[in-house]
């Protein structure tokens, strides 16, 4: 029996009917991870022992009378930003290479309450700084569709682990595209929640006003199930909102649903075939009853600029705590306290982190705050207001998740603007804290001619909703996937030769 591409409801049924035990399922996925990871490098840490012991607990629970929680006994992976008590959590950085958190993040607590089984921690761009997973201290993750290419990032390890069937679902985080873009590039479904929908507590911070923990899964249906478990007010995160999070799974047609197509999201330099796939997807929505409406979001072009200031400022601040005193890497070269700080941080942080710390420190420093940070946060207000206006006219917005398919490894390195450009279609809605989905919507040939053997790489359609408007994007995503099977396409298995 094959389990790697089953949806959560199918796994639930097999576990509940005792067709398989959680231990067997866990062994199954661990075996796949152990087979595929040397090639893909999607995992930083594989927690075999912890996973099997969690699986045994889940089996005991399943064997006792009563209903099982939806995720009971189901394996998953978590981006290595989610703190896991007793299990190394690195942020894919040298500075946290040896860090073992003394506590669990809230999302992990919720999944543990479900008796879901954590099989490993996935690779990411160091501290989530990047859009390719190449800035990881542990080397890049490869795209399961073509291992010469990036999986996207920063949640590249999580997206790749789902795409390659190493886990049924994976936790990711998004700050400015980090769930949508790798979901798109790896051909999986991804949910970037409304900022404040899912607790950030215990998730190593990148940019606090933007970070949104979310998930990658096999389908929108799976993501809705996960949303029902992951969402909610957390007393340990002051920015979580008190909203109902009991999302419907029913598939309805899209009659009366107004779908906005923002013209600014079909940018110069985007791949023609990507544009075609996305346009086809909008036609599909129209067939399902939706009304397509062209909308105008003129401040879109400022999104990446605002982000290029706001994100590094918050990053520089959030990374101040890494000083080699309470945890993490400490230099062995220091002659005095100042050198402990300067060398530990210089040796412990990668280039991208340093670049963002430097940028962030600069824009917050005396004399520059108003010109950069304050100004950027004012322009951010325009972006928020513009979305609010447009959502008076439409229910959701659709656009490409990424202007192109996966590029080859090495393209992103040393381009200080790579991420800001790769994520330009994700950043504005992130700045506004809006929810979004990325769903597979077909394939496009890479235009770089690097790997002519590949006839198509996944393209993603993003569906953006108004603040707290998850149900709207779920409705559209569920309807779309009921009519298409792009989400059921999987990369051909990598041979272990």
């Amino acid at each position: 029996m094959k389990f790697e591409h089953l949806e959560l409801s199918e796994l639930r049924e097999k576990l509940d009917k005792k067709e398989i035990t959680s231990v067997q399922l866990t062994e199954y996925f661990l075996a796949r991870i152990e087979k595929l990871n040397p090639e893909l490098n999607a995992f930083v840490t594989i927690c075999r022992d912890e996973a099997l012991s969690q699986a045994r607990v889940a089996d005991d629970y399943i064997n006792s009378p009563g209903e099982n929680p939806p995720l009971c006994g189901i394996p998953f992976s978590a981006k290595d930003l989610f703190c896991t008590v007793g299990v190394r959590t690195t942020a894919s950085s040298k500075i946290l290479d040896q860090y073992i958190p003394p506590y669990d993040s809230t999302v992990i607590v919720k999944l543990k309450e479900q008796k879901a089984v954590l099989v490993g921690k996935t690779n990411l761009d160091q501290f989530a700084h990047g859009s390719s997973t190449e800035t990881s201290y542990y080397g890049p993750t490869k795209n399961p569709w073509d291992t010469s290419r990036i999986p996207g990032g920063s949640s590249g390890g999580s997206a790749a682990s789902v795409a390659a069937g190493m886990v049924p679902f994976a936790l990711g985080t998004e700050t400015g595209g980090s769930i949508r873009q790798p979901s798109s590039l790896c051909g999986v479904s991804g949910w970037k929640p409304t900022y404040g929908r899912v607790s950030r507590f215990g998730v190593i911070a990148m940019a606090s006003s933007l970070d949104s923990p979310g998930a990658h899964g096999k389908s929108v249906k799976d993501l809705v199930s996960l949303a029902n478990i992951m969402s909610g007010v957390d007393l340990k995160d002051s920015t979580t909102g008190d909203r109902i999070s009991d999302f419907r799974l029913q598939i309805a047609d899209l009659k009366g649903v107004r779908v906005g197509v923002p013209k600014q999201y079909f940018v110069d330099g985007m791949q023609e075939e990507v544009r075609e796939r996305v346009i086809e997807a909008t036609k599909e929505l129209e067939r399902l009853g939706a009304e397509l409406v062209e909308v105008d979001l003129p401040h879109t072009k400022y999104g990446s600029l605002v982000y290029a200031i706001v994100a590094p400022a918050e990053i520089a601040s959030n990374l101040s705590r890494y000083d080699g005193i309470r945890y993490g890497y400490v230099t062995s070269e220091a002659k005095n306290l100042l050198e402990v700080y300067e060398k530990s941080r210089s040796e412990g942080f990668g280039d991208e982190a340093k670049r963002r710390i430097m940028t962030g420190t600069y824009v917050l420093s005396a004399g520059y705050y108003d010109a950069y940070y304050k100004r950027a946060q004012k322009v951010r207000r325009f972006i928020i207001n513009e979305f609010a206006e447009v959502f008076k006219k439409v229910d959701v917005l659709v656009a490409p998740s990424s202007p192109n398919v996966a590029v080859t490894l090495g393209k992103a390195a040393d381009d200080p603007l790579f991420g800001y450009i790769a994520d330009q279609l994700n950043i504005p809605s992130s700045l506004a804290g809006l929810p979004a989905l990325s769903v597979p919507c077909g394939f496009a040939r890479p235009q770089d001619g690097v790997t002519p053997s590949v006839d198509g790489l996944p393209v993603g359609l993003q569906i953006i909703g108004p603040q707290w408007g998850e149900q709207k994007i779920f409705d559209v995503g569920l309807a779309y996937q009921s009519a298409t099977d792009w989400h059921k396409k999987h990369p051909t298995e990598i041979s272990n030769s």
Partner: protein, 500 residues
Amino acid sequence: MENAEYKPVIGLEVHIQLKTKSKMFGMAPNKLDMTEPNVNIDEVVTAQPGSLPVANKEAIRLAAKMGLALNCTIDEWSKFDRKHYFYPDLPKGYQISQLDQPIAKEGWLEITKSDGAVKKIAIQRAHLEEDAGKNIHPDGLPYSLVDYNRAGTPLLEIVTHPCIESAEEARKYLEELQRIARYVGASDADMEKGSMRCEPSISVRLPGEVGLPPYKCEVKNINSFKFVEQAIKYEIERQTEMRKEGLVPKQVTMGWNEKLNQTVEQRSKEEANDYRYLPEPDLPPLQFTSEYIEELRGELPELPAAKRKRFREEYGLPDADIENLINWKELTYYFENVVSELDAWILSAPAELSGKTDKRGKLIKSVANWCLQDFSAMLNVEHKNPDESLVTPENLAELVKLIDDGKISSSAAKQVFRAMYERGGDPSEIVGDLGLEQVSDEGAIASVIDVVIANNEKAVTDYKAGLEKSFGFLVGQAMKELKGKGNPNLVNELLRNKLK
């Protein structure tokens, strides 16, 4: 006085630790006086990756109440900001503080100087922040040790305008601020224990100089009112000397060295401070509704200034007694309870008694004396508040009455009070148990006096010859015969009559 033209310009920054059960932004216990290091810590205090702050409702409440008690404005909106600097005692690499929207703004506090002059000290702002941990520097060793027990404790920073003009004013201000913090219940505000800390900024204005001097010196490491006064005096003198010579003191941070009794320049920082303030993205803003503010205002106790005024009007006590009472909030409550017991008694007493205006004053003074002397001393030994003792206000009122009635002597009263303190109970019964009733029977005293006069011819002769000292000797002899229980007034009166 040539110095008179060189005017000190002083501003005070005071930090008080708020009395809460948990930390400012996390649930770790807020306990001081821990003997073990690094135990009041958790993931938030030690800034573990991924940890987030959540503001303590009670800390915000106490801060706003302090703001009201200091006659400040509480704006509708307030927010937190991150203040960045690297130091081992600062776990996150930034302190959560408040930059441009403090909880409280523009208030004042009134002080009375020793010459009786009253001055309003203008307060610029009061804002909430979190305390740092403690660095310990073992003598002569190449390392320092860090304890995060104190890290994250809620702090209220209260900043005055530079309107203080002498060390005495600074001290009076601090004392009154301490009383207010204690009255409000916001803090123990104890300088020695560090729950109240003061950093004065001092400069000296040239004769005729307009505006603030072009520099100021901040003094740190001061842990008592006395040292604040000494440090300010020292700085005023040092800076005045310099300015007289035409020099402008360097703008530096000084430290108070209590061994040398002087301020010492601290190592000047390698860089100018650039705190890179950032609005705290992890904490939503605070909104204070007028209903909430009125609720807090309603909860404020009578504050020292109002109480001082009322005590003067209602009880006519000497200022020194009032000050001493006011310094101990719980004692003032107790004192007033005793007085109201006595008032009830006076009202129900025969007309000729309640008509005597000085009677009440005399009794009140006696209550104040008991409260401030024997009672305070005994409570202090045990670190107790009056309401934790066995002496009820009713019992103390009774004791004062017994003395006033001449039922016991003042020395016997001290014995009775000690018994009341140690085991509680009605003073009349204790007087009976200890056999301390005073003899006020004129006949009994007269017969004792007759015997004393008969037995001490020489003293009687001396007295009649004008030697007043002998009178005291004869009183002493009579009291001895009466086993110390004679009513001294009566003994005096009868002896004088007999010797006429």
